[in-house]
Every structure is written in structure tokens, then in C-alpha cells.
Symmetry: C2
Subunit: 135 residues, 2 copies
């Protein structure tokens, strides 16, 4: 409710990055966003991409996703809650519906928890494209 608390400007760079993030089902790394943005603003810098991603994250307009298998963060635009599937073979990340059963789980039973902001569910496995089993 206090989004946009600090003065900000509508720069072309920020708009382009936000645009890229809005493409659904897409989970680009900062580097990928940089490459994509360069198609529109050829001399945009990687530092600007990172600064904007951080800014947008703080404003609640972007989300950072870290998987156990990937060394760099991935990002996605603001969107309704969902889980993420990670393919351990091709490293793809797919959106999954968020299981309703989690919506109501009473963490209240946990005396060490004061409040819950969000849930983060990652499903690790192999995607249908990479096929099953065999390490």
C-alpha cells in the first residue's frame, strides 16, 4: 500500500525493462533482460538493468527467483501467486498453479512465526521435453 513511496522518473530504460518482464511465463536472468533490452536501447548498460530490477522489486513490480541449481537470479513481473517448476536437465522454469491447500495452512501453530508475507513453492524435476529419469 505504500508503493511508489519515492520520487521516480519514467525513463525509457525502466519502461523497456518493465515491458520485458511483463511477458508471461518468461523467467529471464538479468543478463537475458540486458540482451533483450539492447534490441531497443542498444547502449543500455548492465548496471542499469540491475538497478532497475532492484528498484522494481522494491516497488513490488518484479520478483526475483533463485533456484538451487542456477547460479544467477531470474526475474518475473508482478503476477498472481503461482509455484515454479524447475527442470534439472534443461534448467527451464515453468509456472505452475499454486496449490489451494496451502492458502489455508495455519502456520499459527508455529509459535516462532509472527506473520507470513508470502509462500514460495519450487517443484524440482524433469520437464516433459527432457523426459523422465536417468541421472
Amino acid at each position: 500500500m505504500e508503493r511508489q513511496r519515492k520520487k521516480s522518473r519514467n525513463t525509457k530504460q525502466r519502461a523497456v525493462i518493465l515491458d520485458i518482464l511483463k511477458k508471461g511465463g518468461y523467467h529471464p536472468t538479468a543478463e537475458a533482460i540486458y540482451q533483450e533490452a539492447r534490441k531497443v536501447i542498444p547502449n543500455i548498460s548492465l548496471g542499469t538493468v540491475y538497478r532497475n530490477l532492484n528498484f522494481l522489486r522494491e516497488q513490488g513490480l518484479a520478483r526475483e527467483i533463485r533456484s538451487d541449481s542456477d547460479s544467477s537470479s531470474r526475474f518475473e513481473g508482478k503476477c498472481p501467486p503461482h509455484a515454479h517448476f524447475h527442470c534439472t536437465k534443461c534448467n527451464a522454469i515453468l509456472d505452475l498453479p499454486f496449490p489451494q491447500c496451502l492458502e489455508e495452512i495455519p502456520w499459527k501453530g508455529e509459535t516462532h512465526i509472527s506473520s507470513v508475507n508470502s509462500l514460495d513453492l519450487h517443484v524440482i524435476g524433469a520437464c516433459s521435453h527432457c523426459g523422465p529419469a536417468a541421472s
Copy 2:
């Protein structure tokens, strides 16, 4: 089922690191493990800590935990499935029971998933020590 597939030696370093990981409810970073290990083996090197953590992870004796909010990985010893609570204020990580409802969720409905290896559930919020709300 093919754990311990390669020859390995029982070095003091490895034993100490494994010992540290065995302390339950503790989710140290590599650096923290390094500091802790130094109390026992003062000249152990950080590289060795990382090498052993990777080795133990491959053997299934350690697990790496990456949260969307923390820049460095945390580690824990082998233990039954559970979720993790992250306090956004003090950065603490606590173990939570794993919701049973997730055990049976049919991801089969998802045509893009071939097989599921594991689930990773992170609950983000404030711990009782840090108290509720107010950013």
C-alpha cells in the same frame, strides 16, 4: 541408491564440517561453517569448506538452501523433508513441518512435467522475535 559411488577419504576437515551440519535447526552459510570449523582446525581453508559442501551435497548428506532474499547459500545436514521459514527482518531461517497436503498433489495434470524429484517450500514473513508488520 548409488551413494558413495566414488572413493573418498575420512579427512578431519570433512568430519568437522559434517559435524557442524548435524546440529539441527541451524542453517549456516559457507562462511559461517568456515568460521565454526576454524575453531577446531584453525588453518582450514574456505575452499576446502566449499569443496566438502559440494561433495556432501552430491552424496546426499547435505542440502543447499537458497532463498530469494539471501545472496549466499545456506546449508543443512541430511534430515526429513521440511519447509523453511525466513524472517525478512533478522534473516533467521527456521524449520517448519512439511504440509502433508503437498505430498499428494497431482502435478500429473501438468503436461509439461515428466517427473518430480523434490519440493521446496519457503515461508516468508516475520518471526515472533522480530514482531509483526511495519516495514
